[in-house]
């Protein structure tokens, strides 16, 4: 920008930006980590209620979403390979698939949440606070917060991937400068890992 003193400031440091991304991922891990701490504490304190409440969630939708995310993780990982091999259209195709799968995931989530809302299960709802036990209220509170925050991360990931695709398309990201794609990939895998834990905690362990 204002670096007019003719110093070329464009040092490209792939490893630097990679570890930068990793540091960011560490932060994110701890962010979700806290919610996992809360979850485990309350599960420990109300194990029966958590058991009951988990029955309300649909394992099938959860499993489908898991697989969607896993596949999308693979495609974004592959797109790096494609980029390194210099195959631009295939790179775009693969990251496009990731994008699409991410959106499908969100749509699924939307219907899942919608169904819960229709049953009157949402934070602070009268139905929830009056008819459910304390442990169940906590379970659903955590369910909405954790999957909500995860969904927010999916959205951020989607934006990141879109930007990357834009830059691949315009040639700013290419085999020699693949850091942006790799970093979006890393971020997307983080989102995947978090879901890998969310899925059993909310849908499986009943």
């Amino acid at each position: 920008m204002e670096k007019t003193n003719h110093v070329v400031h464009d040092h490209y440091d792939a490893e630097g930006s990679k570890i930068g991304m990793w540091f960011f991922i560490f932060t994110e891990l701890l962010l979700f980590g806290v919610l996992f701490v809360i979850y485990s504490v309350y599960r420990y304190m109300n194990s029966d209620a958590f058991h009951l409440a988990a029955l309300e969630l649909d394992t099938f939708i959860g499993a489908v979403n898991t697989i969607i995310l896993l596949v999308s993780s693979m495609t974004i990982a592959m797109s790096t390979t494609a980029l390194q091999k210099g195959n631009k259209p295939f790179t775009l195709l693969l990251s496009g698939i990731t994008l699409l799968l991410g959106i499908v995931f969100l749509v699924n989530k939307y219907f899942e949440w919608g169904a819960k809302f229709d049953h009157g299960i949402y934070p602070g709802s009268a139905h929830l606070t009056e008819t459910f036990s304390q442990g169940e209220i906590l379970f659903f509170g955590l369910y909405f917060i954790m999957t909500g925050l995860h969904a927010l991360h999916i959205i951020i990931g989607l934006v990141l991937i879109s930007v990357t695709m834009w830059k691949i398309n315009s040639g700013k990201v290419h085999a020699e400068r693949a850091a942006l794609l790799e970093n979006s990939g890393l971020y997307w895998h983080l989102v995947d890992i978090i879901w890998i834990f969310l899925f059993p905690l909310f849908y499986l362990i009943t």
Partner: protein
């Protein structure tokens, strides 16, 4: 750079970029300008905090109402705490001196991500404004204390949302600064500058950055939960819905205890630079100082429960937390011993920065040792949440970080502004400040031992004496503060020009002109076998 004379080099204060004037600063990605932006914005917030502190002392001058009512008092210590912790001492030395010096000290032209660095400052400002919005608009200033303990924090009728959200944004800014520093230290060290040759200030920034990275998100999400609780009544910390208020305290302190080491580590780093320079001597126990920095950073992560000894934790947890609290004190002790040993057989140049550093050691000792009293279970039960704790943390936060900050500003002032301050006034300011400090906070130890609880708007007659003394101390302190600030501000504009290396320091920042040119180095320096930050 096309000129060799220091006068004509476009130094970082003068160069013209795309924007002019103020815009040239607030859109600059130059790490030095960003450092100064932090300095100015922090100094502003700091002054607000100081005024609030004075107001509290005035209120406590006598029992009953003095200048404000209970609601205002509660709001005052909350805002005072939030400003001082989240806006002043947590960003503190890393954001100002870290930004300014880290790249120069490791022989780099800038930090790894200059734009991210600017973004951090913007986020900082945004956070500040959010918190201020909580004061000015809405149903009343937050009154929960800086700890935001549940369930009061979602029961109070005051304007919590912007305050909590502001603290969250400030946390985010802190994370990004930490991330930036980590990558910078990993990737941008100049050739020959091995890890084992890094200046200790850089090492402390490294340790601090890790804590920022791993602890800050914890408080971030916890505060978001408080906000969600207020908005939707999720129930996470609400005992009426099965939530556990003690869990909130765990999460809050998982961040806020490491945060106290975020505050003190860079301060210790600055002291580790100043003492060798003014003793003209190699630092004593370089490796031990690095090891203790890392030990503080790591063990400091695991002792949070000592803030909760009376909260209703299990006995096992109390046992464990008390034990580790004592363990984490040891690396601090090692540091003190090494600093004092560095003076041994040195050639001590008694200058203002050294006075500050030596008095830092003294007040840090008092603060730290009173921390040991608090760490002992039985003693803690007695003085927890009393004025004793208030004395402890002012001694160590303000005495530690604050004194180190002043030491640092007097040490690096000639480098930063290219001018020298008036030394006689600087020394006068220091002594007045030091006396005021002792008068202000020492009585609080006594009050705490007599059993006066903290966050008390009003108190019983028996606590009167100590409070009067303390209030008088606050006026002396502020007199000292004004002398110092006026001297520095004046000198930054009209002081005599400073040399490149007025103190004969050995770290890399003393090899570039004062003030440094835009990209610090014409050529990236290279360190030989025998060069090092402390090789006098």
């Amino acid at each position: 750079m096309n000129s060799t004379s220091i006068e004509n080099v476009a130094n970082y204060l003068k160069y013209k970029g795309k924007y002019k004037g103020l815009l040239g600063w607030i859109f600059s990605t130059d790490h030095k300008r960003i450092g100064l932006l932090y300095l100015y914005s922090m100094a502003t917030m700091f002054s607000v905090g100081v005024l609030l502190g004075l107001a509290m002392k005035l209120e406590l001058l006598a029992p009953g109402k003095t200048i404000m009512d209970a609601q205002s008092y509660n709001a005052t210590f909350t805002v005072h705490g939030v400003i001082m912790i989240f806006m002043v001492v947590v960003p503190g030395l890393p954001a100002v001196f870290g930004n300014f010096l880290l790249p120069i000290m490791i022989g780099a032209k800038d930090v790894a991500f200059p734009k991210l660095n600017l973004l951090s400052w913007w986020l900082y400002v945004a956070g500040v404004f959010l918190v201020l919005a909580a004061l000015l608009f809405g149903p009343g200033t937050p009154d929960t204390g800086w700890t935001f303990y549940a369930p009061y924090s979602f029961k109070t009728g005051t304007n919590m949302l912007p305050a909590v959200f502001g603290a969250f944004v400030l946390g985010f800014s802190s994370i990004l600064t930490g991330l930036n520093f980590l990558v910078t230290i990993h990737r941008l060290r100049c050739p020959g500058l091995k890890w084992s040759k890094l200046p200790l200030f850089v090492w402390t920034l490294y340790g601090t950055a890790w804590i920022q990275l791993l602890a800050t998100p914890v408080v971030g999400i916890t505060l978001v939960l408080i906000a969600l609780e207020r908005l939707f009544g999720v129930g996470i910390f609400d005992p009426a819905m099965g939530g556990d208020p003690i869990l909130y305290q765990h999460l809050f302190w998982i961040y806020s205890h490491p945060a106290v080491y975020i505050m003190i580590l860079p301060a210790m780093g600055a002291i580790s630079e100043i003492i060798p320079t003014f003793s003209q001597k190699h630092i004593f126990g370089y490796k031990a100082l690095i090891a203790s920095t890392m030990a503080i950073a790591f063990v400091g992560y695991l002792v949070w429960g000592h803030h909760m000894f009376t909260a209703g934790m299990s006995g096992t947890a109390q046992y464990y937390f008390s034990l580790l609290t004592f363990i984490v004190a040891i690396p601090s002790a090692i540091k003190v011993f090494n600093w004092i040993s560095t003076m041994y057989k040195g050639s001590i140049n008694l200058q203002t920065p050294f006075y500050w550093a030596a008095s830092f050691i003294f007040v840090f000792l008092i603060g730290g040792l009173s921390g040991l009293v608090l760490g002992a279970l039985a003693a803690n039960i007695y003085v927890h949440d009393t004025a004793f704790v208030v004395a402890h943390f002012h001694y160590i936060v303000f005495g530690g970080t604050g004194f180190a900050f002043f030491a640092a500003i007097h040490y690096w002032f000639p480098k930063i502004f290219g001018r020298m301050y008036d030394k006689a006034w600087a020394n006068t300011g220091w002594i007045v400040f030091f006396i005021g400090f002792l008068t202000l906070y020492s009585p609080m130890f006594y009050l705490g031992m007599m059993g006066m609880p903290r966050r008390y708007y009003d108190y019983l007659q028996e606590f009167h004496g100590g409070n009067i003394l303390s209030t008088i101390g606050s006026w002396v302190l502020v007199t000292g503060f004004i002398i110092i600030i006026v001297n520095l501000v004046r000198s930054a504009r009209i002081g005599p020009k400073a040399e490149m290396n007025p103190w004969n320091g050995k770290t890399l920042e003393w090899t570039v002109p004062s003030p440094p040119p835009l990209e610090n180095f014409d050529e990236i320096p290279e360190l030989g076998e025998n060069d090092g930050p402390y090789n006098y």
